[in-house]
């Protein structure tokens, strides 16, 4: 039993740090609140969709920015999508980079766009790593017979 409460404590601390460090915002809490016994994997399902979407978008962005004649509308469209999906799961840092990225698209600033793409990839990998760690913690708690604490 001590193991479970230790894991639960770890979960709470880790989640709190993700909010405090700005990786996640309140939207992530909203997702957790939508999870219940009849939808026990809701958060993982939504976040998995986000991971899939993001990897596609990052590839599309790289391709679009490599073109001899860059179509900034196309680039912006991808970023807009990325901004939407990251905002829907509460991945705040990713959303913030997208906002800057869109400004560079509007200005047709290739250099700015390329830098943003790099930043975007970086922030995405960070948040993905953190979320994967969080989900692993959850699994450990469940396997130890405990329940996952609900964050307020």
């Amino acid at each position: 039993m001590a193991a479970v409460s230790q894991l639960q404590r770890q979960f709470i601390d880790y989640t709190t740090s993700l909010y405090n460090e700005g990786y996640l915002d309140d939207q992530f809490t909203q997702l957790q609140q939508l999870q219940d016994e009849s939808n026990p994997d809701f958060v993982v399902e939504v976040v998995s969709l986000f991971f899939e979407d993001s990897e596609k978008l990052l590839n599309n962005l790289a391709t679009a920015l490599q073109q001899k004649s860059v179509d900034y509308n196309q680039v912006d469209s991808h970023v807009h999508q990325f901004k939407g999906s990251s905002s829907s799961i509460g991945a705040k840092q990713v959303t913030n980079v997208c906002i800057h990225f869109r400004n560079f698209c509007e200005a047709k600033n290739l250099d700015g766009c390329l830098r943003c793409l790099q930043q975007l990839r970086h922030e995405y990998i960070l948040v993905r790593t953190k979320l994967e760690a969080l989900f692993r913690l959850e699994q450990q708690i469940l396997q130890a017979g405990g329940s996952v604490p609900v964050m307020e």
Binding site: Q27, L34, V46, L49, F50, H80, G84, S88, I89
Partner: protein, 193 residues
């Protein structure tokens, strides 16, 4: 027993969004309130579902009473038909125009919001949509109240709508736009999708 049986068909919401993540989200939100949900990924699919065959030319409309839709909630920015265009087409169709329509958008653009509301949208939600937004749909989804609630649910009283300083758009001095002007306005000002 003198029990009057009220129809127990759950209220049915048609959700339209090209983002699979947002579709999943809105579906879950609506289902927590026990609504039946059909989620489609485009305006044209929405119109097809509503019974409008041959969408481009608006020929042959065949409403299917078994698939009664009590509310339509749609994203604004979608490839092909935007949420605004979908709203317009619904309001122009005699058998669909009374279905309440709600628009969602990730962009807080006052001109966009007022345009949608003027076109007949009941509400405009900023994304990401939350439980507190979806709670506001209840009056629109009450079948018996639907016809009377429309005007009473004055959007300006609702503080979930993006707060913006918009004293320019006063109802008293609405300019008379020609359709062409509106199209031009729409395309020149709001291409941020």
């Amino acid at each position: 027993m003198g029990v009057i049986s009220i129809s127990e068909t759950p209220l049915h919401v048609l959700a339209v969004d090209d983002s699979n993540i947002d579709r999943k989200l809105i579906e879950r939100l609506l289902k927590t309130l026990s609504y039946q949900v059909t989620a489609v990924d485009s305006g044209s699919k929405a119109l097809e579902f509503l019974g409008l065959q041959d969408v481009e030319n608006f020929q042959s409309f065949s409403p299917n009473p078994e698939l009664e839709v009590n509310l339509i909630i749609t994203d604004y920015c979608m490839p092909g038909m935007t949420g605004f265009e979908l709203l317009r087409k619904i309001k122009e169709t005699k058998s669909l125009k009374d279905i309440p329509v709600v628009i969602m958008s990730s962009d807080n653009i006052p001109a966009r919001i007022s345009r949608c509301l003027e076109e007949g949208a009941e509400e405009f939600f900023l994304k990401p949509v939350r439980m507190s937004d979806v709670d506001k749909l209840k009056p629109f989804l009450s079948k018996s109240e639907r016809k009377t609630t429309g005007d009473e649910e004055c959007v300006s009283n609702d503080n979930s709508i993006a707060i913006y300083d918009d004293d320019v758009n006063d109802d008293d001095d609405v300019e008379v736009w020609s359709d062409e002007d509106e199209q031009r306005q729409m395309f020149s000002e709001d291409q941020s999708c």
